[in-house]
């Protein structure tokens, strides 16, 4: 279980300036994410978990610190591909073109990228919808497209920002199961941000619990030693250990959530430039 580090995050700090006030969003994040690991990040709202993911995705830059992703020298994989929280599927492209988008950006010919995208269309259960436009799909199906788009791009690491947050409970359960199944086939390194403890336990090998703002690593909890792979949603949720792990994570988070609600702006005040 001690695979070498795939992603090394060293002392990553992020400061924002909002209305001339400096806000420390991330404070010295130190973590190694292992190759082939499903790594979940949970934390209270506003703790900077999405910011950390966006830094990993290259959509924002860290104020200080470094991030290193170990590349597989034998391939020309892109570094990372992200599954976004909100509707990020292009409404003007068919399901097929959406899923093949990353491949097009990498210069694949139409024929080549459709060939690569094809199995992913089936894997996410969108067979028959290849030529549909997103407005003909439900919210859950759009997220399937978004997931397939990231997987089809075959990146070194997959980044997911609460991809199921906007879905209803039942759709979410189905998609979590499908994500586990697809991931089992590739065992790619995944960094998955969520505010749901339940989701983190279900999916993760390890869970990183973050403190309220400024976001720091509070503790990293090993789930892989409790629940093996492949996992089944029903079995995990009905097991006795589930409640135990849930209790541990919630124990860590509870104080943070309460604290962030009580102090709220006071922390910002204290950090003012």
């Amino acid at each position: 279980m001690t695979a070498p580090a795939k992603v090394s995050v060293r002392g990553v700090t992020k400061r924002f300036t909002v209305r001339r006030r400096e806000i420390l969003a991330l404070d010295g994040i130190e973590v190694d994410i292992r190759g082939g690991e499903f790594f979940c990040i949970v934390g209270p709202s506003g703790c900077g978990k999405t910011t950390l993911l966006r830094i990993l995705a290259g959509l924002e830059t860290e104020s200080s610190g470094t991030i290193e992703v170990v590349r597989d020298p034998a391939t020309e994989r892109p570094l990372n591909s992200m599954v976004f929280q909100e509707q990020s599927v292009f409404p003007w492209m068919t399901v097929r073109d959406n899923i093949a988008f990353g491949l097009k950006a990498r210069g694949f010919s139409r024929r080549a990228r459709y060939a690569v995208a094809e199995p992913f269309i089936h894997k996410v259960g969108l067979t028959g919808f290849e030529d549909a436009l997103p407005h003909q799909l439900s919210g859950g199906m759009k997220q399937r497209v978004s997931i397939a788009r990231a997987f089809a791009n075959d990146p070194e690491i997959l980044l997911m920002d609460e991809p199921f947050a906007a879905l209803d409970e039942q759709t979410k359960l189905v998609l979590q199961g499908e994500l586990l199944r697809i991931w089992d086939e590739s065992r790619k390194t995944v960094v998955y941000v969520t505010h749901s403890i339940d989701e983190a336990i279900l999916l993760a090998d390890r869970i990183m619990v973050m403190s309220a703002r400024p976001g720091r690593v509070k503790e990293i909890i090993d789930v892989a030693s409790v629940f093996g792979r492949p996992r089944q949603v029903e079995l995990v949720k009905s097991s006795a250990q589930y409640g135990e792990v849930f209790g541990r994570v919630w124990g860590l988070l509870r104080a943070e959530v309460l604290g962030s609600q009580l102090i709220g702006d006071a922390t910002q005040e204290g950090m003012g430039a």
Binding site: A57, G58, L59, P78, N80, S81, M82, F84, E86, Q87, S88, F90, P91, W92, M93, F101, G102, K104, A105, R106, H122, K123, V124, G125, T127, G128, F129, D131, A132, L133, P134, H135, Q136, L137, S138, G139, G140, M141, N153, A166, Q170, T171, V174, G177, E178, R181
Partner: protein
């Protein structure tokens, strides 16, 4: 943002993700809300159709009984008779076709570069920083006011007509295209960036389709202004065209012919609206309607 409630698409299904042949037809069934009975809608439609007809009939009756001054408001029947004569002599078509060519050429010259520059301005802030003040500074000038200048530069011929239409159209298309790009959901640009889309792909695959609804709005407004500008330009600086026809018939007090000109310009406006709506449907099939 979540459109799932609008569609009847089924999402919860067996986790295996296999076999859903024939399902897309189902998903495409986005039904319109049921109407409250057949009657009301048809009655309203009939009323909308009848009101202009009744107005014309009243006008006709008033003209025949001397209720209105037929020197200013000739009877519709006499206007239509004049229209028929103008069609037969070919005079109407020769004027209309001249105006249509001017609009088409000027519109194209104005709109195409405006879309390209507008996309660049929307995507790249330095481009915007350079061009925006020029736009803001010159936009308030009524476009027809530069006609004398254009006649001076391009002469009395067709070129000055093309130029005045192009300028009028450019502003509206440009401003709307910029707004269209700026209003694209940020997440689409994030996706482009995260997937390392090239500059060209950011243009063609994200900015252009994302801004297209607003571009079409710009084209629609531009078309309206093009009609306005060409008719005004032909009043003073032309020997043909629909505007010339209206103006010259006023000068010789052929009021019926003037009304035919008005009628035809209304029809051109109507036809261009239909054309652009069709374009909208063809180019933006994903737009919720």
């Amino acid at each position: 943002m979540n459109v799932s409630t609008k569609t009847g698409a089924v999402d919860v299904r067996a986790a295996s993700g296999s076999a859903h042949a024939g399902a897309p037809a189902n998903a495409a069934l986005v039904g319109k809300p049921a109407r409250g009975g057949i009657g009301r809608w048809n009655v309203e439609r009939a009323l909308s159709f009848l009101s202009p007809v009744i107005l014309l009939l009243l006008w006709e009756a008033a003209a025949r009984t001397g209720g209105i001054d037929t020197r200013f408001f000739p009877a519709p029947s006499s206007i239509f008779k004049t229209a028929g004569a103008l069609v037969q002599s070919g005079e109407l078509w020769s004027n209309v076709s001249v105006s249509l060519v001017r609009i088409a050429v000027g519109f194209t010259i104005g709109a195409v570069p405006a879309v390209i520059v507008g996309l660049a301005m929307g995507l790249f802030s330095p481009v915007r920083a350079v061009i925006q003040p020029l736009i803001d500074g010159t936009f308030p000038i009524p476009k027809i006011a530069v006609l004398p200048l254009f006649i001076m530069i391009f002469g009395i011929g067709e070129a000055s007509k093309y130029a005045i239409i192009a300028v009028a159209v450019t502003y509206l298309v440009l401003i709307n295209t910029v707004a269209g790009v700026r209003n694209i959901e940020r997440v689409y640009l994030d996706v482009g960036k995260n997937f390392h889309a090239s500059r060209r792909m950011m243009f063609s695959d994200i900015a252009l389709p994302g801004a297209l609804p607003m571009v079409l709005t710009g084209l629609r407004l531009g078309m309206g202004v093009a009609l306005l500008v060409i008719v005004s330009a032909e009043f003073v600086g032309a020997k043909s065209g629909i505007g010339y026809m209206i103006w010259s018939s006023w000068q010789v007090f052929q009021v019926e012919k003037m009304y035919v000109g008005l009628l035809v310009s209304a029809l051109i406006g109507f036809a261009s609206a239909i054309l652009l709506n069709t374009l909208d449907r063809v180019l933006i099939p994903w737009k919720p309607r």
